[in-house]
Amino acid sequence: MTTRDSAFGGINLVQDILIIGGGVIGCAVARELSAYQATVTLIERGADIAEGASKANSGIVHAGFDAHPGSAKARFNVEGNRMFEAYCQAVNAPYVRSGAMVLAFDEQQRLTVEKLYRQGLTNGVEGLSVIEREQVLALEPNVNPEVVCALLAETSGLTSPYELTFALADHAAVNGVAFLLDTEATEIRKDDDGFHVRTPRGELTAKILVNCAGVRSAVLHNQLSDRTYNITPRKGEYYLLDHEMKPVFSRTMFQTPTPMGKGVLVSPTAHKTLLLGPSAQDTDNDTDVSTTAAALRLVRDKAALTWPRESLRTVVTTFAGIRAHEAGDDFIVGATENVPGSYEAIGIESPGLTAAPAIARALCEQIARENGLTLKPEWKPAPIRNKPFAEMNADERQAAYEQNPEYGNIICRCEQVTEAEIRAAIRRPVGARSIDAVKRRTRAGMGRCQGGFCSPRVLEILSEELAIPPTEVTKCGGDSRMLIGSIAEAFRKGDA
């Protein structure tokens, strides 16, 4: 059950388990823990879940050849990759096994490709091969013909990171996890009663703490432990291009990696759009997701190496995300050293999305074992979600319409999203509360016109469903109101 604002008004809420962070890791942990007999609350500083790195990354389910053998990154990546398809199926999240290539453009880069191949084998990655120029171009005709060879990774895939996060949260919520949004953990103390977490909206107390706070995870960890960690927010900027009739690439196209990460990729997405990016700049602001001309130019220039006929004619938007890069360059997953009851997932940058199912499973098994948690007699399955209208054939559309005539009303014309789907997104267990929240759950406003036509309609539906005036509807929570006042109201008051 979702705990709404009214349920938490500065009261000291006592729980068995408190999860900090509503990204893909926090929600995956919440879902695992919801199988156990315990009261679980998840707090998230954003106005929605998946507001941090989970809403703005490449959405790649990595094969696992990048990570250093023996590292936590390597282990969780390969494990997560193997779990991913069934995992997405279980919660109704998008997954496509598209494959990937790492392109080499000279003999030096060939050596890197060969090293990645061997590293992949050591990590236990299946479906790897090094292919030569002709084969690369036969599989992907739009690749720069100057390519010399490529690592082909058949087990690489695509998901929608925020949709997966929403699906995990919904599954956790139907099994009793409470979600508190707009609730930032500012300070953590431990005493005999457990952990006391201060938030701007009151204090929460829990016996078990799970820190999945992304870019904030090290700061919170350091309040409990002398063994400190240091996270640097690392910004990545992207271009997103519209889906077209003929996809440019069918696989994720990597270039050889750099010390700052996997470099600029050109990749289809789970929704058949095309993604270029990311850049990588370290920043000191963990909430700054503004884009910059310099980084976007860099993305454009680097992507052109992969895709020489690069065309930005169909760009629908640009965006930025923040990775949580830890100084030790590895995932830190498990119990906090010398702090009984505290568990953590720190430094979860790429391949964190791929690793999420494996990280959550490992953490929760450990929590259950060390705290004697027992499984509930019944764990409800994830809520069934209809196939998106845009992906239905004519018969399925008619059948959906017969079930609910609101399927007959197209609200977002670019992405073909219906009124039925927008209302359903607001009514989900962890439902949409803003224009952007609807957008990420339904794709309404994600297309060519970027909400130009549908946002007034979505606003109207949100106002109706949430029973708030249109002037209270926000783009993305906080003070992001879409409208500043009613003209009729101003007339009545005499100020117009």
Binding site: S290, N409, E419, P456, P470, I487
Partner: protein, 435 residues
């Protein structure tokens, strides 16, 4: 295709009941089509005119200054008088080159039509912020001008009170005045080009009359604000339209309206595998507004973006009549000649014209296009191969105002069949539109 759905036969099917679709439907009915259907995605007819509550519409067609809704109402009344079947709140989902059209509505569910002729009249959409890749945050308070116009004029809500407008397209100019009249402060209208893309009358009546500065050769280089917009940074641009460092000015504002171009909405057109023009972003058509797919016609802003609704209506009457002739089997074929954009010309429409037989009583053909720059004392020339067949002098030409010329029947009859080229020669010109 849906196995369970039986297609309904329609002689002429019009997609869209904005000014283009309404005119096409009226013309088709007046040409004798009884089995005629119009599909409109919005709950009411009239298209974008519904929210254009300012006046200035209809000067050419009615010799009157009407508001948008008044203009639309005249066609709506005619459609009703002619008892034309219009299904509103019905979205077309798919169209094939064989003119099988799938639609859905809340009232009727999925619907399938087999049309003899289809008129595409879906209009255009505004180019959004994302397409420009303007750096900065993605906060609330950034709207395309038409979205803001809908909020203000149809929904009765103000999107903000301190406004910067990026782009000087007509809707942006109109909204500069509208927001001002509604009590907002419009700080500036910022245009990256050395000239406005809007009509001169709108610059005078919507900016100058309200002392709103028009900053030519300027653009927005940064957007600030975490939740709601707090300000934008504007900089001057060089001849390559790159921002010049050191020229930045900051505007504290809560609203940024974008009027940076209109894009014909051709998703359905592409599904039908219709040949497209890169210059207009609409279909390639002949002088009867027929696309490369026989029986599929296009008119209005889905074909090419017009400045004046009067010309949308005129074009769409032609398309409706031609679609009727096609559906009723009375269209003449014959020799054709291609029309090409020459120097200084962008997006001449139609791209193909029929050469009448020597004995035929043919109608004149109007060619419409945009000058690629601002030209003074210009000469528009039409070349048949390399033979000049027409020469027209114009004192001023600008990209913001569609130019046109008429090819008379005697000229048409004498054409060789080689491609015609339309070009502009000018001694003086401010040329910058070369993208």
């Amino acid at each position: 295709m849906a196995n369970g759905l039986q297609p309904q036969a329609v002689d002429v099917l019009v997609i869209g009941a904005g000014p283009a679709g309404l005119a096409a439907a009226i013309a088709a009915r007046e040409a004798g089509v009884t089995n005629l259907l119009v599909l409109e995605r919005e709950p009411e007819m009239g298209g974008i005119l519904k929210q254009c509550i300012h006046n200035g519409f209809g000067l050419h067609r009615f010799q009157e200054e009407l508001t948008g809704p008044e203009y639309a109402q005249r066609d709506i009344e005619r459609v009703k008088a002619l008892q034309i079947d219009v299904r509103c709140a019905t979205t077309v989902l798919n169209i094939t080159k064989d003119r099988l059209v799938t639609a859905i509505s809340r009232e009727r569910g999925m619907q399938l039509f087999q049309a003899r002729a289809v008129v595409l009249a879906m209009g255009c959409r505004e180019r959004p912020r994302g397409a420009l890749a303007i750096p900065g945050t993605r906060c609330a308070g950034i709207y395309s001008a038409g979205t803001a116009q809908k909020f203000v004029n149809l929904e009765g809500y103000m999107p903000g009170k301190r406004v910067v407008i990026l782009g000087s397209g007509d809707i942006g100019l109109i909204m500069a005045r509208r927001m001002t009249l509604q009590g907002a402060k419009v700080l500036a209208c910022v245009e990256i080009m050395p000239f406005s893309s809007g009509l001169n009358r709108n610059i005078v009546q919507c900016l100058n009359d309200y002392d709103i500065p028009l900053l030519l050769n300027h653009t927005v280089v940064d957007i600030q604000g975490r939740d709601r917009l707090e300000g934008v940074t504007v900089a001057q641009v060089d001849a390559k339209r790159e921002p010049i460092p050191g020229t930045e000015t900051h505007f504290a504002c809560d609203t940024l309206l974008l009027s940076v171009g209109l894009i014909p909405e051709n998703e359905l057109t592409r599904q039908a595998d219709v040949e497209m023009s890169a210059a207009t972003q609409g279909a390639v058509v002949d002088d009867a507004l027929q696309t490369s797919q026989p029986g599929i016609f296009a008119c209005g802003n889905v074909l090419h973006v017009h400045d004046l609704v009067d010309f949308v209506s005129a074009e769409s009457f032609k398309a409706g009549k031609a679609a009727a002739e096609y559906a009723l089997g009375s269209r003449a074929d014959g020799r054709t000649a291609a029309v090409l954009d020459g120097e200084g010309v962008r997006g001449a429409v139609p791209q193909r014209i029929r050469i009448p037989d020597p004995a035929e009583t043919a109608s004149p053909i109007q060619l419409m296009f945009r000058p690629s720059c601002v030209f003074e004392n210009a000469v528009i020339r039409v070349l048949d191969g390399d033979r000049e067949v027409l020469r027209i002098k114009r004192r001023i030409l600008a990209p913001g105002e569609m130019a046109d010329l008429t090819l008379k029947p005697e000229l048409l009859r004498a054409l060789s069949g080689q491609a015609l080229t339309v070009r502009i020669d000018a001694s003086e010109g401010v040329c910058a539109w070369n993208s």
